[in-house]
Symmetry: C2
Subunit: 417 residues, 2 copies
């Protein structure tokens, strides 16, 4: 594409090559670049070797080269030296950075050693990018209209640097075409069925210059609308917004939010707004649903607690399920899951309760109840309702999908109420 | 190193570049190659673009090039064409593979379309690697003593192919130096303290030709011993085994297993051996501990269930904690966590019970109980014991570390009993 701005990501670290660390940095950087209209064209991962790094810099392509790793205090980390060789410059001690490092260790109650202070030795020629979360500074270089950025490999430090300085500066320096985005988050329908349902709407997008991407993950399909814009993005924004509104009208019950929002956060917000509380009775999801809900900071405002009723004895003792019901219907059945939901709601005195009971596998399936069969129930002020699904995938995927489906069931009840 | 065998990993897929998918394949392949003595020297990720793939093949280095992705049935997937161009061959329909594909769809109750059958079109010149988990075959090429292997990008399909055919064939074809490994799994001590404790032992390794690698992850440090061996690995194996035995004698309580074993599996095996059962009372870990335990297939043999007692009302009603104890001592205290453990053990009638209560953050910390403070208790046939720790990291990391520490506490009690 004309006017296109491209990027290459260069990750340095032996631990990435031998698979000790999964390279999540490359994926995160790639997604952030895409969002500001810069196209990632290659990722390379190489070891902590001066000659190899230098060769990678020399053979780099793209308008921006984003480099992570190799900036630690140990002698293995030799990215800075390679950068000096490539840019024909030398390391100089930056007094202000050294002072920051000393202060950083001071707040941890420790003294900075010379090996730590040496992290203030940075190439004379670069623009320093401050690291507010660690001691390894980032470096920004420009040459022949191209940009090279070196950042630490620690994700928590790198992401902060990217968001605060690197992404805005890349946009300013390389002027990528402005892209207007909206990402609608859907659950409850698989990719192909969703595509069928919105086919006519999707066919109307090209005429508006809008591209649609399906981004599926277990239980969730993200729909990303994007459109290139002129310097003034108002018109592009209006077109994308109009199509987003149409989508809301088309599949109102399937969209649970936009952007990076998680379904557990959405449910948490809805409960908070209503000053209502939630409890859980989990069988096949085995605590995963509670974990998802409590992984949201502040969830104690609406989450009371739950029972993981793995054994039938627990279903009887803690949730009041009659023994003959378990024998007659089986644990994976509508009557049992509904009694689990109403039982925990009463026992823990919450406004809402979710219950799960199913066969997560790999064993335990029968012809009538194959692996993946899950009964879900939601009990609330207006009674209890339940549904049966068969989820595909591994044990872990079945647990995840069942948990998402249960949260979505509660979400719909909250919105309907 | 002389006689060294190197590998490059080439991952193909736009979804990897834009960060929609994290590249876990590269890490997994890298770790498997390392284990058989092949050194990964570079990973490259590129888009589904014929010219780019061809260029990557031409500029590849290393003795083995492992390629993933781009083998799907859609027209975006053009890896096969690029391979044909590179190896100067053409696609031919393999009748036996086509029959397998038809059969594969048949078991799913569907008919294979022509687009599916076309996955049996494979380069005339290659050796086909069978895919037992999907419809995209792998391809093995040799040229000038180098090996090129193309595999599907779906991890579940690729890993099966690697384990069954590719790794054995790589070893046979490239004859990498034999490496003898043992990986000891430790928990309970951070990397630097562990290093101090085993310093003298570590210093004795070079004389035996043994290398030691520290592989840390939150709450766990893996210690990998490795040694190159001659054609007959007996002597190297004996040396590594002797040093491993010394390590067991040095830090018996810190080693929970070897290889890829998970701590929750170890605890599960110990419980199974003893025909004993476990229940949980989780506050700060919020269901994560139950999730870890129930993610092990067959855990229903020893895991009865648990209570996630987020609100104090649940601690009182379900676990019998007196209200004045909660008021006087606070929920994050020794008396409360011990009562949680004994309470759930009695209520659910299990042999063992674990309880957790702490401040997972990011809010809720005080000077006496900063974020990360966690009380853990284990109740068993011989009484209840508890301990206080302060775990570093984010909310998620605190929850993970506390869960591992709790499992380890139970493991030690089981071994001591």
């Amino acid at each position: 594409m004309e006017g296109e701005v491209t990027a290459e990501i260069l990750c340095i670290g032996d631990e990435l090559l031998i698979g000790q660390t999964v390279n999540t940095n490359a994926a995160w950087i790639g997604s952030q670049l895409s969002l500001i209209g810069i196209r990632p064209v290659r990722v390379r991962t190489i070891g902590d070797d001066r000659a190899v790094i230098l060769d990678a810099l020399r053979t780099s392509l793209a308008d921006a080269v984003l480099i992570t790793g190799g900036l630690g205090p140990t002698k293995d980390d030799i990215t800075k030296e390679a950068l000096c060789a490539f840019f024909d410059t030398r390391l100089v001690r930056h007094a202000d950075i050294e002072a920051r490092i000393v202060e950083f260790f001071h707040t941890l109650g420790r003294d900075a050693l010379e090996v730590n202070r040496a992290q203030a030795d940075l190439p004379e020629q670069c623009t320093v990018i401050h690291n507010l979360r660690g001691t390894a500074s980032g470096m920004w270089f420009e040459r022949d209209g191209r940009v090279f950025v070196s950042m630490p490999g620690v994700p928590y430090e790198m992401t902060a640097m990217m968001e605060r300085e690197v992404l805005p500066k890349l946009r300013e320096t390389l002027c990528p075409p402005t892209i207007v985005h909206r990402t609608m988050l859907t659950t409850g329908l698989g990719e192909s069925h969703l595509a069928q349902r919105i086919e006519a709407w999707e066919d109307s997008l090209p005429a508006e210059g809008i591209k649609l991407a399906y981004l599926p993950s277990p239980g969730i399909v993200k729909l990303r609308l994007s459109r290139y814009a002129d310097a003034d993005a108002t018109s592009a924004r209006a077109r994308v917004d109009r199509k987003a509104t149409e989508l809301y009208e088309l599949i109102p019950e399937l969209i649970y939010g936009e952007g990076e929002l998680r379904l557990d956060e959405v449910v948490g917000r809805l409960l908070k707004q209503r000053a209502q509380t939630l409890s859980l009775a989990e069988s096949c999801t085995g605590g995963f649903l509670a974990h998802r809900i409590t992984s949201v900071p502040g969830s104690s405002a609406y989450f009371i607690g739950g029972v993981v009723s793995y054994a039938n004895a627990v279903k009887m003792a803690e949730l009041g399920i009659p023994e003959d019901m378990l024998e007659l219907e089986g644990a994976v059945s509508r009557p049992v899951v509904e009694r689990m939901a109403t039982g925990v709601r009463e026992a823990l005195r919450s406004d809402w309760a979710i219950a799960t009971s199913g066969v997560a596998g790999p064993d335990g399936g029968t012809p009538e109840r194959p692996v993946g069969t899950v009964w879900l129930a939601v009990a609330g002020p207006d009674g209890v309702r339940s549904a049966r699904s068969v989820f595909p995938g591994t044990r872990t995927q079945i647990i995840e999908r069942a948990s998402l489906a249960a949260l979505d069931m509660l979400r719909r009840r909250l919105l309907a109420g």
